[in-house]
């Protein structure tokens, strides 16, 4: 029983969580506990929001067996659009956010069209996108930095939720988790399946509830749950759900695993591919809005090389670039690992060049470790 339970948990995500705990312990030691203070934890999560959101969209693309090199430029462009609408045109924030998200959607539609219907390799389509969208950004902003933004964006970028709101959100999350677990048990009973031991299930639930409580408490000990974190959490829940529980999600995994077999099984390959790129465009636009809000300005350099962070997060989180393997939650854990490295090394006052070198090595090592263990399993 215990063995099968361990098997059910995605071992690679599990390994990453252990790695994350080790990294946190390591930095806590080196910074004399400064790393683990509520203030720093709050900063860390806020920093990870941006890459997390990009990684969530990117994870779908990578599971599909494709790639998107353009998200950094899309972040820049959509960040520029929202700044222009808000600062130059003084548009209503709700409207400008809608338009910006629409722009991200159109960009996804454009790239998805070329990849799925014109059959141009995604590497090329999105490499072209990287150049095109950065170019458009420089053109429409005339190379200037646009800011500051109106008040709403300050709340989105840097605001915190009231402590009570944080507790309510935590409570809703707990209720949600309990509901899902018990409904799944009820379903199993209905179809006469082995439901497994109730004690193990309750133990699992208690651990999750404890984690949620510790998280809310830590955030509230500083200033509360960051508003931007809310976006990442909502995206995480929705995309995890879509990837695991819908036909669309299952189709993405099938196409990434074996495109030809998926086609013969009646999956509409082109439609699924197009939709994945649309979702990824949407997520990049959301990341663009959040980045511009946090920096309180849009610049032509915003989001440069963000695609590499997003791809790195997915891969560290266990996604395979050959497709078919990976999870949304893994990608988010990968993003938090990356943010933890950034944050910890900054706390230690390590020079920037070292930070870059170390992150590079971590990426290389993580993927090597993953492949080495996978080959071992095969033999």
């Amino acid at each position: 029983m215990k063995n099968s339970l361990l098997k059910k948990i995605n071992l690679r995500t599990y390994m990453m969580i252990i790695a994350l705990v080790l990294i946190w312990g390591f930095f806590t030691m080196l910074t004399q506990g400064m790393f683990l203070t509520p203030r720093n934890m709050s900063n860390l999560f806020r920093q990870s929001v941006f890459v997390s959101i990009l990684a969530i969209g990117m994870a779908l693309v990578i599971i599909l067996g494709e790639i998107d090199l353009s998200v950094g430029s899309v972040v820049g462009l959509t960040g520029g659009i929202i700044a222009i609408l808000d600062v130059w045109n003084g548009m209503n924030p709700a409207l400008s956010i809608t338009i910006t998200l629409g722009a991200g959607l159109l960009i996804g539609l454009w790239q998805g069209f070329w990849v799925a219907y014109m059959k141009v390799p995604s590497f090329i389509v999105t490499l072209a996108g990287l150049l095109i969208f950065r170019g458009i950004l420089v053109g429409i902003t005339k190379g200037t930095t646009i800011g500051p933004l109106s008040g709403v964006f300050k709340v989105i970028g840097k605001g915190y939720l009231d402590n009570t709101v944080g507790i309510i959100i935590g409570a809703v999350a707990v209720f949600f988790v309990v509901y899902i677990v018990f409904r799944s048990r009820k379903n199993k009973v209905k179809y006469k399946f082995d439901t497994g031991s109730l004690t193990v299930e309750i133990l699992k639930l208690l651990i999750i509830i404890a984690l949620i409580a510790v998280f809310v408490w830590t955030m509230n000990s500083y200033r509360g749950v960051p508003v931007s974190l809310l976006f990442a959490l909502i995206a995480l829940v929705i995309f995890s759900y879509v990837s695991r529980n819908t036909v669309f999600g299952r189709s993405i995994y099938a196409i990434g695993g074996n495109k030809k077999a998926a086609a013969l099984s009646g999956i509409n390959i082109k439609k699924v591919m197009l939709n994945v790129y649309v979702l990824n465009g949407l997520m990049a636009a959301l990341a663009g809005i959040l980045l511009t809000s946090r920096l309180n300005a849009a610049s032509v350099q915003a989001g440069t090389t963000a695609e590499l962070d997003a791809i790195g997060a997915c891969v560290i989180g266990g996604a395979s670039l050959s497709g078919g393997i990976g999870t949304i939650s893994g990608a988010v854990v990968g993003a938090i690992v990356m943010a933890s490295l950034d944050n910890g090394m900054s706390l230690m006052n390590m020079p920037m060049f070292w930070q870059s070198i170390i992150k590079g090595f971590v990426l290389l090592f993580a993927v090597w470790l993953d492949m080495a263990t996978k080959n071992k399993n095969k033999a």
Partner: protein, 511 residues
């Protein structure tokens, strides 16, 4: 004349099967020696041993050239000994010129880099010699037809002073005129003193050019004969002479009315859109019937059924009527909706999804049936999958086991379950038992029998004649893209020889 090449008592084992069992091949100097056998008889394994692809010590037995023992470790060793193998899948570089291919890894060095002038002149000479027309030494391989590519491969081998030329099914992809040119060239090479091993099961070709023929069947050598001493019937008998065991369940299904009618179905090759791989095929299928599609490799069987299912990359046209209604099938999505299901012969690249577990591999065809609101009701999904996994006796530790960890037979049963989940009217199975063990084979036959009892009609493509004869109610024999013959097999009274005769184009020889 002595033997130029001898392969003595060759034994080669693969996990679970003995592919070659004491096979001896003796080839005389300056003859064209045909090697005959059904698909899977062990011809290619034998050639792979000769070429050093399976190195010395991975097989038992010995190879002698001019009486001298040879121990090939690499393909390079056999090339040095004068053996050149031209595989069915040509090993030319599409994007390079004829000259570059001809001199691959053997370029002539000049004072400053490669001596192109010399190489072009040499290539010109070879093109002339093999009468390859319509191209220059600078023509890219991808602009040259398959027939000429074959000749270029021969030129490449001859340039390296090959003494023994091995051709593996050279005519499979060629047109009639291309085959003529190839035959003329081989005859010419023979005059020049080249020895040739010619693998084919096209009897017309063997009668035309070969001096002697060795027949192997099920990994054993049956006999070597001079071609002038045997007729095609004798060769066919030696190729197939095998009893149908009681492996096949008795068919007592009464076929009902016609469910499917296909007329004037033509399929074009995806690589060269002018080449018809299936020509004007017309046939029908009755309710509860098993229709066997037989034919040699390259006869167009797979192309026909994959096109019917809407999953073939080449173009196709023709009329398809299902239950009296005209239907248009442009993609597998259409086909599945109409009640077709298709099991590919290529389990690895067109069947399993290797990253997924058994459950997800089985349920992939009808996920929409499990959806409640927007999400897949996993319990409902598992319930259905479990039912079929049990019915088909798929042996798996759990539904969450990765499909790659299952044996070939169980993978096949899982993929069959995937196609039964959609509750098809017409089930198309391409090579139902390829690469699976005897026990699983029998299970699949029994299952096919049960399926037809419940009213499903099956189109079965198979290279194994006993399977065709043991399971089909009717047999269509394809030869070079055309339906050459239809046999009624309800009495199980047609013979393997009958089918082989038509599949090998026997009727054309008589003319």
């Amino acid at each position: 004349m002595g033997n130029l090449l001898e392969m003595r008592n060759i034994i080669k084992d693969f996990p679970g099967v003995r592919a070659l069992d004491k096979v001896t091949l003796e080839v005389k100097e300056n003859e064209i020696h045909a090697l005959c056998g059904e698909n899977g008889a062990g011809k290619s394994t034998l050639i792979n041993i000769l070429s050093g692809f399976y190195p010395y010590k991975t097989y038992k037995g010995e190879i002698l050239i001019n009486g001298e023992k040879k121990r090939f470790q690499h393909i390079k060793n056999s090339e040095d000994a004068g053996i050149a193998v031209i595989h069915q899948e040509l090993a030319l570089f599409e994007e390079l010129s004829i000259t570059e291919n001809l001199f691959m890894n053997d370029q002539k060095a000049g004072r400053l880099g490669i001596d192109w002038a010399y190489m072009y002149k040499e290539t010109e000479r070879w093109l002339d010699k093999l009468k390859i027309k319509g191209c220059t030494p600078k023509t890219l391989i991808r602009n040259v037809g398959v027939g000429k590519q074959q000749l270029i491969e021969i030129a490449k081998a001859m340039r390296k002073n090959a003494r023994i030329l091995v051709l593996d099914e050279p005519s499979a992809a060629l047109t009639v005129t291309e085959i003529d040119i190839l035959m003329d060239n081989l005859a010419e090479l023979k005059v020049q003193g080249v020895t040739c091993i010619y693998i084919s099961h096209k009897l017309a070709e063997i009668e035309r050019i070969a001096d002697s023929v060795t027949i192997i069947r099920d990994g054993k050598k049956i006999d070597t004969k001079a071609v002038k001493d045997v007729n095609e019937a004798a060769i066919i008998e030696m190729m197939v002479g095998r009893e149908i065991s009681d492996m096949y369940p008795k068919r007592d299904v009464k076929t009902g009315e016609q469910i499917l009618e296909v007329s004037n179905f033509t399929v074009y090759s995806p690589d060269s859109p002018d080449k018809e791989v299936v020509k004007d095929a017309s046939f029908n299928l009755k309710k509860g019937e098993i229709l066997g599609l037989s034919g040699l490799m390259g006869a167009g069987r797979t192309e026909l059924v994959m096109s019917l299912f809407g999953g073939f990359p080449g173009k196709f046209h023709g009329k398809v009527e299902l239950e009296g209604m005209d239907v248009s099938i442009k993609s597998p999505i259409d086909a599945l909706k109409l009640g077709f299901a298709f099991l590919s012969e290529d389990r690895k690249s067109l069947g399993i999804i290797p990253t997924m577990d058994v459950k997800n591999n089985v349920s992939i065809t009808c996920l929409r049936d499990f959806v409640s609101f927007v999400q897949i009701n996993e319990s409902k999904e598992i319930y259905s999958v479990k039912k079929f996994v049990k019915k088909l006796n798929v042996k798996t530790p759990s539904l969450e086991t990765n499909i790659q960890n299952l044996s070939g037979g169980n993978q096949q049963k899982a993929i069959l379950a995937r196609n039964l989940l959609v509750d098809p009217k017409v089930l198309i199975i391409d090579e139902p038992t390829r690469g699976i063990d005897v026990g699983a084979k029998n299970e699949i036959y029994v299952l096919m029998n049960e399926l037809t009892k419940s009213g499903i009609s099956i189109i079965m493509v198979s290279s194994e004649l006993p399977e065709i004869l043991g399971m089909s109610d009717r047999v269509l024999v394809l030869c070079e893209g055309e339906i050459a013959k239809e046999f009624d097999n309800t009495e199980k009274n047609i013979s393997q020889e009958d089918i082989m005769f038509w599949a090998a184009g026997g009727n054309k020889i008589e003319k």
